[in-house]
């Protein structure tokens, strides 16, 4: 029976393992190998060039500005998204109507939750096209709104102004991600026993103190997970920038991201080896981020008593 058991287990595992190796692991290995060559993507042969590609990365101004932009996105997008999502989720679950005794969310909370989730249902290209209309300088929704309320002075050519273009892109990323995290945090807050909030109220905690001392520590696991996902999304951002920004990546590299440079080098410039080096660099950046976030998450683990 023992032999039969292992044979059965092998039969169950091997097909999936084979698919994983062929379609997931081997492309990684291939990319790692290509990053050490000068393959053009069309030539029949690839010459081994060692770490030359990586050395070039350090001198490529466009890559360095992409790295800077991604770094800024890595800080702004997760923080803004999580802050807004936490605020909305706690309003939906605990914001309560003033003057009512029970701990409860704002009226119509369920409707809001669904509405906030809408952007999640749109694919990235549609979001990008939609926001192109919003940011359009002459007849866009944003400038139109600003002039309607008499703030013409704030109107900009949002995507063509180097000083605000990246912020405009990040705003779209936050807008499209917030809904999902509102739902995620709502579910987490929902699972906190109501009595804890009641006990906090009896202990004299106001809304802010309750949020800081009770709600936030008890959804910390979810916040950590959100940081990992949003961090990965912020290091990518390729699809949105490719469609939304002028250039793309412009003006003058203002919205350049690593993924965009990778795509351009591989498919426009025929430098697959160099593009692979970018991919490998991005891989290690993402991995480091994930490890750091997971590590810091493990320490603060809270178990419900």
């Amino acid at each position: 029976m023992k032999h039969g058991k292992y044979r059965f287990l092998a039969m169950a595992i091997l097909p999936a393992l084979a698919l994983h190796v062929i379609f997931v692991l081997s492309p990684y290995a291939q990319a790692f190998y290509l990053s050490l060559t000068d393959w053009t993507g069309v030539a029949g042969q690839a010459n081994f060039v060692g770490l030359d590609n990586f050395a070039r990365l350090g001198e490529d101004p466009l890559f360095l500005s992409a790295l800077g932009n991604n770094a800024l996105m890595l800080i702004v997008v997760p923080l803004a998204t999580i802050a807004i999502a936490l605020f909305l989720a706690s309003m939906l679950n605990l914001g309560g109507r003033r003057g009512r005794a029970e701990v409860q969310g704002v009226a119509g909370g369920k409707v809001y939750k669904i509405v906030y989730f809408f952007p999640q249902l749109l694919s990235v290209p549609i979001i990008a096209v939609l926001w192109q209309f919003v940011y359009s300088p002459n007849n866009g929704l944003l400038n139109g709104f600003l002039s309607a309320v008499g703030l013409d002075g704030l109107a900009r050519t949002w995507l063509a102004d180097g000083s605000v273009a990246l912020w405009a892109v990040m705003a779209v990323m936050v807008w499209s991600a917030v809904g999902f995290y509102v739902v995620l945090f709502s579910a987490a807050m929902d699972s906190i026993p109501r009595e804890l909030f009641e006990a906090a109220r009896l202990d004299g905690a106001g809304r802010l103190a309750t949020f800081r001392s009770i709600t936030l520590p008890l959804v910390r696991d979810n916040v950590n997970a959100a940081f990992v996902y949003l961090g990965i999304a912020a290091l990518d951002g390729f699809a949105l920038v490719q469609i939304l920004s002028v250039g793309p990546g412009g003006p003058d590299g203002a919205t350049e991201v690593i993924g965009l440079g990778l795509y351009r080098n591989a498919f426009s410039f025929g430098q697959f080896g160099y593009a692979s080096a970018m991919g490998v660099a991005l891989f290690f950046l993402t991995l480091t981020l994930a490890v750091i976030a997971m590590r810091s998450g493990r320490r603060t683990k809270v178990e419900m008593a």
Partner: protein, 366 residues
């Protein structure tokens, strides 16, 4: 320290028809008193407590603490501490942090918090656990932390919502005594909710019995036991419950099978004036006893004997008007009757009976 008053306070949940979870509750609790709210599930006892805590709206009437109307005051302004059934300890804080949280919010200095927490921990034998998280504590220890969190605040009123129901039977009895002793020591007005009438009887200075949101009776445990205001209180208080039977009246008294219980003239007059042909007759198990063949009594067929050591409870049926009626009788634990045996049961004392109006359930004073 403060007295508490419910002034015709009601909690009405909207619906059709609206549910009156607590219906015009009128109750005064003296300063330093230990009052127990008791009733079956759905009687509104927890709702009444939560109204006092400010966790539930008061739709009609008012609630006063220390003579001040707090009906529209939020929980933090009421100076109350509550022990929840689930304890509601903050899982991410240590025992010490849990107990000191309210003081921290009040801006008390760190050394003062530490001293207060240490004092309460000593009182509750929790000193060793101050740095642990609630998860690492046993049920009894968690219960004590919840008590400690309430004590540290030095509130004017303690509220306790079934704080013992998650403990095992032995610990419950032990903790019951500890809470009562602690309350006596601190002298803080305490309102305690339970569905367990034994807890109610043993702990409270006074006990308020609720049913369907309505206050049935509020009195000392002794008085509740001896003069229940209606048939519900009579059946609810006491374990095992009182034998309550609706029996026909005769010229001289109440008629139970072969046993005719003579009633005083005044009682009979009163019943007659109300035009009642029947009366709900109640007698506690310990007021019945086994009697000899010649004495007044009724024939009881034994169906179950619960032996508790010192006493035994005999469950059996008596035929009244050709219907088998269940009776419970307390007998000496050393000589319980056997199953299936027929024994003769009589009243120990003719004054230890209770009469209720069979329609309204109200007590008929004798």
């Amino acid at each position: 320290m403060a007295e508490v008053a419910y002034v015709n306070a009601s909690r009405v949940y909207p619906g059709s028809p609206p549910v009156r979870a607590v219906d015009e509750l009128k109750l005064d609790v003296a300063d330093g008193e230990f009052l127990v709210l008791v009733g079956p599930s759905g009687s509104g006892k927890s709702t009444a407590l939560r109204m006092l805590a400010g966790l539930e709206d008061v739709d009609e009437g008012a609630i006063e603490i220390g003579g001040k109307d707090v009906t529209n005051v939020p929980p933090k302004g009421r100076d109350i501490a509550m022990v929840f059934q689930s304890y509601a300890l903050y899982p991410h804080m240590t025992v010490g942090e849990n107990m000191g949280f309210a003081l921290k919010l009040r801006g008390v200095s760190k050394p003062d918090i530490k001293a207060k927490v240490a004092e309460a921990a000593k009182m509750l034998d929790l000193e060793k656990y101050l740095d642990r998280k609630p998860k690492a504590l046993s049920g009894g220890q968690r219960q004590r932390v919840a008590m400690g969190r309430a004590i540290v605040r030095e509130p004017s009123v303690f509220l306790m919502d079934e704080p013992l129901s998650n403990l095992d039977a032995k610990l419950r009895v032990e903790t019951r005594a500890n809470i009562a002793a602690l309350q006596r020591r601190l002298g803080t007005t305490t309102i305690y909710v339970t569905h367990d009438q034994v807890e109610a009887m043993t702990m409270g200075h006074r006990v308020a019995v609720l049913k369907d949101g309505l206050l049935q009776q509020c009195d000392t445990p002794r008085a509740l036991y001896e003069t229940p205001a209606n048939a519900f209180v009579a059946a609810f208080i006491g374990s095992p419950g009182m034998n309550l039977k609706t029996v026909p009246l005769t010229a001289a008294g109440a008629q139970l099978d072969g046993l005719e219980v003579p009633l005083p003239r005044t009682t009979l007059d009163k019943v007659g004036a109300d035009g009642l042909k029947e009366v709900t007759f109640g007698v506690r198990p310990e007021s019945l006893g086994l009697v000899g063949a010649g004495e007044d009594g009724m024939e009881l067929t034994v169906e179950l004997v619960e032996e508790l050591g010192a006493d035994a409870y005999v469950y059996g049926s008596v035929r009244i008007a050709d219907q088998p009626e269940r009776f419970i009788v307390r007998v000496d634990g050393r000589t319980p009757p056997a199953l299936g045996q027929t024994v003769r049961v009589g009243l120990r004392d003719h004054s230890e009976i209770h009469l209720f109006n069979p329609e309204t359930g109200a007590r008929i004073e004798g």
